[in-house]
Every structure is written in structure tokens, then in C-alpha cells.
Amino acid sequence: MSITMNHLTEGEVIRVADDQLETDESQRVNEHLESCAECRAQVSRANIRRQRLSSLLGASDFATPMMSVPQAGTNVIDFNHAREQRTRRSAWAMQPRMRAAAAIILLLLGTLAIEPVRAAVTGWLRSQWNRIAPREQVSPPQQAPSQQAPLPLGPRIEFEHEGRELRLEFISPAVGSVLQLRRGAGTNVVAESSHPGADLLVLPEGLRITGGGAGKGIYAVTVPASITTVTVSSSGRVVARATNDQMVAGMTLQLR
């Protein structure tokens, strides 16, 4: 099947842009993105739209007025209250009637083990779901993304890492939103590696280092001046973080 038959849905495009892909779809979506320029363009457009909306909102916000802490007889919030209520509900649920109801439900669920019953139930549930759930249109992108002028480049940071994959997140100062490193998203990121034999790829899902084994290398990333914070993750773990005032030329962030 050709690539164009498998374009990302509009929901998937947003989940990529927001770094919200589910585990079970991540591999398929990322593989598709690596080979499909049209979908990368859609992701890029989603990122640009988000940045522009953030910019508009930030520029038109009300200043926060002076507000005093509400008084309601006490200044202390008792979060145990919620836990105790939950415990009471839990105890109530174990009353004889509730136990009987639970047993009936379990019995009904047990019938789902029988194939014809399961097929009938899942078929009905699917038809109900199709009626109420928003449909994700599998459609080709409607227009190409805007060509962005490169942003002015800011300070240069260097950091070391030992893993094979890095993920960088840049925090925008305007609204505190997190921008994941992306190719062609208007965030002009330049990355280079001093690690011998390692290829450094700027991919939609982040910065990927291939080859070169697990040896230590120094990687330099040049980010726009508007970036205030950069966070580096390796294998899901935050390994380095630097704020703009720390990002001075030639600085090396040591991994924890």
C-alpha cells in the first residue's frame, strides 16, 4: 500500500504536534512521518498555528489583578477529607447488596468469554461508538505549510550524553508552552555532533543519534533567542536542563 493511503488523521497530527501519541500508535505514526513529507507538513502547520495562537493570546492578555486569598473560616485545606470520603464510599460498596450486584456484573462479563456473545456485544458497542464519537477523517493535507523565515539564533549550548536517543523540549517565554524539537516547525534548531561515527538526525519526534554505539559524545544545539529553557531527556529520563541565562557559548552540561 502506498504512503498516501496511510496519511495521518487530523487527530494524529495534533497528537504528534502535542507529543501526545499513545504508546500503541507511536511507532506506526513516526515511521510514516519519516517517509511522508505531506504529513510532516501538516505537523509543521499545526505547530505554527499553535505558536501563533499562543503569541496572539499572550499579547492580548489581561494583567492579573490584585486578588486576596479567600477566607472561609479556615486557611488550612484538609486533603485527608477527600481520602476519607473515598474510603467511606469504598466500605459502602462492600455491603451485601453491593456485593450481590458486583457478582451479577461479573457473571455477565463472564459471558463475554463466549465468542458469539462477545461478537454481538462488541458489534453493538462499536456501532454506538461510531454514532457518537467524532470521526477522524483520513484525508490528504489540504495545503502546504507556510515557509518560515529563520528565527534569530540565540546562545549555543553543548551537552554530553551516553544514551542513543535524546529528546529536547524548549519552553517558550510567551505563555510557558512546551515546544518539542521538530524539523521545520519554525523553531530553527541546528544540531551537530563531535561523536565519531554518530549520525545526528533532527526528526519530528526529537533529536535522534544513530550509530556510534553508546560512547560519550558532545552535541551542540543552537536554539532561537526566544527559547528560555531547554530540557534534555534520554530514554524517558531528564538528564539535563538549562535556562537561558545559563546557556553561554561553549558551556557543557554534565549529565546527572
Binding site: D18, R45, R49, A63, T64, T74, N80, A133
Partner: protein, 171 residues
């Protein structure tokens, strides 16, 4: 009783009231109403606190309900849209007149576009702006996590048309 489960409201208020106000003022386009909703939210927090680990999502959910309910019952929406230029919002800082005018005009345009969206779509977009995950957004507005992306996409399509987000007028 665990001491860690008892917190002074001042600390939570200091941490959350400003972003909550920003979110609610964007949601409603009304700084006065947003400030009232923030106060109401923290009163509710004192009366009926959620589990501590859910505090942020709870604040935004309760704040959203308080703000939207207040706006509906007082029918202020039409008034705000009609008289936006005449109002002097309590939240505005004392900028120079030109700067204040530019800001007010930009706010009017952005708010007009936002207010054309259904409450749910506006809530979803603005919670996204505040950095909530799709799962947290889904829980707040009562939908499935998987449909949040689609709802965002469609709402952004509408906003892009209204606010010219796809046009080459941006720096």
C-alpha cells in the same frame, strides 16, 4: 493525620491563581468575571478539596464551570461583545494610551474569534495552552482522550480562518 495532606491555602493560591486567572479571562473575555471565578474556585477548594494529586486539573475544571455558569446566568456575554471597546477592564495595567488601545483592539479580535467556538472547544484549546495533557483535557470536558486531538484540529481550523493564522503576515 498526615501533615503532608494539610496545606495552607495561601501557598496554593500563590501558585495557581495567576495562571488560573489568565486561563479564565481568555475563556470568558471578561477579567472581572474571571477574578470572581478564581475566588469562587478557591472557596470551593476550602469547602470540598479534591485529592491532592489532582489539584491542578480540579482547579481548572471547577474554575471553568464557575466562570461559564456565572456568564450564562448573568447574560454578560452579549454585553461584553457589544461593549468591549467601552469597558476599562480591571485587570489591565496602566500602559500608555496607544499601547493600551492596541492591546484592547487585539484582545477584541482574539476574543471575538474565540467566542465563536462552542464552550467545550474553547475550553479544550485554552487548557492545551496551559500545558494540560490530552488525557487531563478529556477528563475535564468529559470526552475521550482519543477525540481531543480531532476536536483541537477542528477548532484550530476555525480559529485559523478567523485569525489568519495560516497567512504570510507573521514575522
Amino acid at each position: 493525620m498526615s501533615a503532608s495532606e494539610l496545606l495552607d491555602i495561601s501557598a496554593l493560591f500563590a501558585e495557581h491563581h495567576e495562571p488560573l486567572f489568565r486561563y479564565l479571562s481568555r475563556l470568558t473575555g471578561d477579567a472581572d468575571l474571571a477574578a470572581d471565578a478564581v475566588q469562587e474556585t478557591f472557596v470551593q477548594l476550602l469547602k470540598k478539596p479534591p485529592e491532592l494529586r489532582h489539584i491542578r486539573g480540579w482547579l481548572y475544571k471547577v474554575g471553568t464551570n464557575a466562570a461559564l455558569m456565572s456568564r450564562r446566568t448573568t447574560s454578560r456575554r452579549q454585553h461584553i461583545l457589544t461593549h468591549a471597546e467601552e469597558r476599562v477592564p480591571m485587570g489591565d495595567s496602566p500602559n500608555t494610551p496607544d499601547l493600551a488601545l492596541d492591546r484592547a483592539e487585539q484582545r477584541r479580535i482574539v476574543q471575538a474569534a474565540l467566542q465563536k467556538l462552542p464552550d467545550r472547544d474553547r475550553t479544550i484549546l485554552l487548557m492545551r495552552e496551559e500545558g494540560f495533557s490530552h488525557k487531563e483535557i478529556a477528563e475535564a470536558v468529559g470526552t475521550t482522550t482519543g477525540s481531543v486531538g480531532t476536536l483541537i484540529s477542528r477548532a484550530m481550523d476555525r480559529l485559523a480562518r478567523e485569525l489568519k493564522l495560516d497567512e504570510e503576515i507573521w514575522p
